[in-house]
């Protein structure tokens, strides 16, 4: 009988093996998703086999810019990060929380509770999320699953989801995961993925292969259906070379040392007003961010008379976000940018014991005016006010 890896083993599969892995996930009744090309961008989408993967595609990302081109190369993962993160798979942009009927006499009947709502969807399997995006799940895990009362919807999706991370050999122009300690490799993280893959596509077509680190028992079960061989020392060193080359090619850098203290000591810095002159308060950065978790909770009455409560992604760039009777607490754009950046890089530590930024760079890429969080942090560091000082 052929060798089959167990949790902790390092295996090697070829392209056919990767296809077999996708099939095995589907056979195990997962709703398999992965990076696919859609509308000129790499986006999360349904994955039926390797044929759906963005083979030969390369993205170019810069502040306010994203381009995708076909290099006709053979690699499946020769791009940096998907345009959208995987946040929406676990935390949908809009979600119904409950629905009730209010009868003329005033009685209220709940029509569905979250537990009984609709047919139980298939558990998710995500193949091809980057280490930064997997780290982002570790961040949203603390928010939703780590709360005193965990969010049951998020937790159900998260607990049942199968995660096959693909390490990053091709960081882009806005990437800074190595500054945040979240990539380009997927080493130890809070939450363990099921599989960690590394694509080795530098050699001949016949040599195109994937290193597969089996982390969980669930991962081992799926891998049992995939033809594999044991990894060799050569495979390992090739992975290390790929990752160290990637780490050296980060498009951006963020100095994190003392950063929370630096930001919080400079709340009155004039830089906030300067960035606000460019910021459109559009909220693209918060939508693109894999860890931004703000949501509005809104009730509506439908024409049927049914009352529906929905939760919908919200952005701290919206004036209404901080609404109190009387008005918005954060009325100016500068205060809203400051809230977003100081939350991400400073007060997230107070609230959740970690940084809210994983260095994926999407906020830079998708900002229509190209505001760059690493540049803003560097500017504050370079022109920090003396301790205790305030802008005149």
């Amino acid at each position: 009988m052929a060798w089959s890896p167990r949790a902790g083993d390092l295996a090697v599969v070829d392209v056919a093996g990767l296809d077999a892995l996708i099939m095995a996930l589907a056979d195990a009744s997962y709703d398999v998703r992965g990076p696919v090309v859609r509308s000129g961008a790499i986006e999360p989408g349904p994955l039926g086999g390797v044929v759906d993967l963005p083979r030969g595609m390369r993205d170019e990302q810069a502040p306010g810019r994203y381009d995708l081109s076909d290099t006709a190369g053979g690699a499946f993962f020769d791009w940096s990060s998907s345009a959208r993160s995987w946040k929406a798979e676990l935390f949908p942009p809009e979600e119904e929380l409950w629905r009730a009927r209010q009868e003329p006499g005033g009685n209220v009947t709940f029509l569905s509770t979250p537990k009984a709502s609709r047919r139980e969807p298939l558990p998710l399997a995500i193949l091809g999320l980057r280490p930064c995006d997997f780290a982002a799940l570790g961040v949203t895990d603390r928010v939703f699953a780590g709360a005193a009362v965990p969010d049951p919807r998020y937790r159900r999706r998260r607990d049942t989801a199968f995660m096959a991370v693909v390490e990053c050999g091709s960081p882009g122009g806005t990437c800074f995961c190595s500054s945040m300690g979240t990539g380009p490799g997927c080493e130890g993280t809070d939450a363990a993925p099921d599989l960690v893959l590394t694509e080795i596509a530098s050699g001949t077509v016949a040599d195109h292969r994937f290193l597969v680190r089996v982390v969980s028992d669930r991962g081992a079960e799926v891998m049992a259906a995939v033809p594999t061989r044991k990894a060799t020392e050569a495979d390992r060193s090739e992975r290390e070379a790929i990752l160290s080359r990637a780490a050296a090619r980060m498009g951006r850098r963020l100095v994190t040392e003392g950063l929370p203290e630096l930001l919080l000591a400079n709340l009155d810095h004039e830089r906030w007003s300067e960035v606000a002159r460019r910021c459109l308060a559009c909220g693209n950065c918060t939508s693109a961010c894999p860890t931004c978790f703000c949501a509005d909770v809104r009730d509506t009455t439908e024409l049927s008379g049914q009352v529906v409560r929905r939760r919908r992604w919200a952005s701290c760039f919206d004036r209404e976000h901080s609404y109190l009777h009387g008005g918005a607490v954060r009325a100016s754009t500068s205060s809203r940018y400051r809230q977003w950046m100081t939350h991400k890089l400073a007060t997230w530590w107070d609230q959740f014991g970690q940084s809210g930024c994983v260095g994926c760079g999407r906020c830079i890429t998708w900002c229509p005016v190209g505001i760059d969080i690493t540049e803003e942090a560097a500017a504050l560091r370079g022109a920090a006010l003396p301790a205790g000082g305030g802008a005149a």
Binding site: L324, H325, G326, G327
Partner: protein, 156 residues
């Protein structure tokens, strides 16, 4: 009797902590008085000739309006001070001050106090700063009240 007045003055927040000599100077201008509920300590337009240090009871600072009668602007309780118009010409009261219940206060003759403050710069200096401190506090509280914090739900 003057010694008793000095004791009372030295325990009132306005002048507490001043030297025995300075307290003694002020005591020379002061008498202890009581008012019954409803009696006026001060009447608008009349000569402002007294500084009142409230010891007990509540004094209501009022203004009289044609149709609604007296409107209370502020109340001053034990430890408070009533009457500033004696400091500056033309030395006329701007408001009424009425005893809301039984009131005990030290009444300090203003002309006497002004003379002593002129004669003794240390007393004048300290008295001015103490009075300014109380005025500042009253001004700050008045400013906050102008916000109408509990009023319109549109104001916070």
């Amino acid at each position: 009797m003057k010694q008793d007045i000095a004791d009372l003055i030295s325990t009132h927040p306005l002048l507490a902590g001043l030297s025995v000599d300075l307290i003694g100077e002020v005591a020379g201008c002061a008498v202890n008085r009581v008012w019954h509920a409803g009696e006026l300590l001060i009447t608008e337009g009349e000569a402002a000739d007294t500084l009142y240090l409230v010891r007990r009871g509540v004094v209501a600072i009022e203004v009289n309006a044609p149709a609604s009668g007296p409107i209370v602007i502020e109340t001053v309780g034990p430890g408070g001070v009533v009457g500033w118009s004696w400091m500056f010409p033309p030395y006329r009261w701007h408001f009424d001050a009425r005893a809301a219940g039984a009131v005990g206060a030290i009444a300090i003759d203003a002309a006497c106090l002004r003379d002593k403050a002129d004669a003794d710069p240390e007393l004048g200096h300290r008295l001015t700063f103490r009075v300014a401190g109380v005025l500042l506090e009253r001004l700050q509280m008045t400013r906050v009240r102008l916000l109408d914090l509990y009023g319109s739900s549109r104001a916070r």
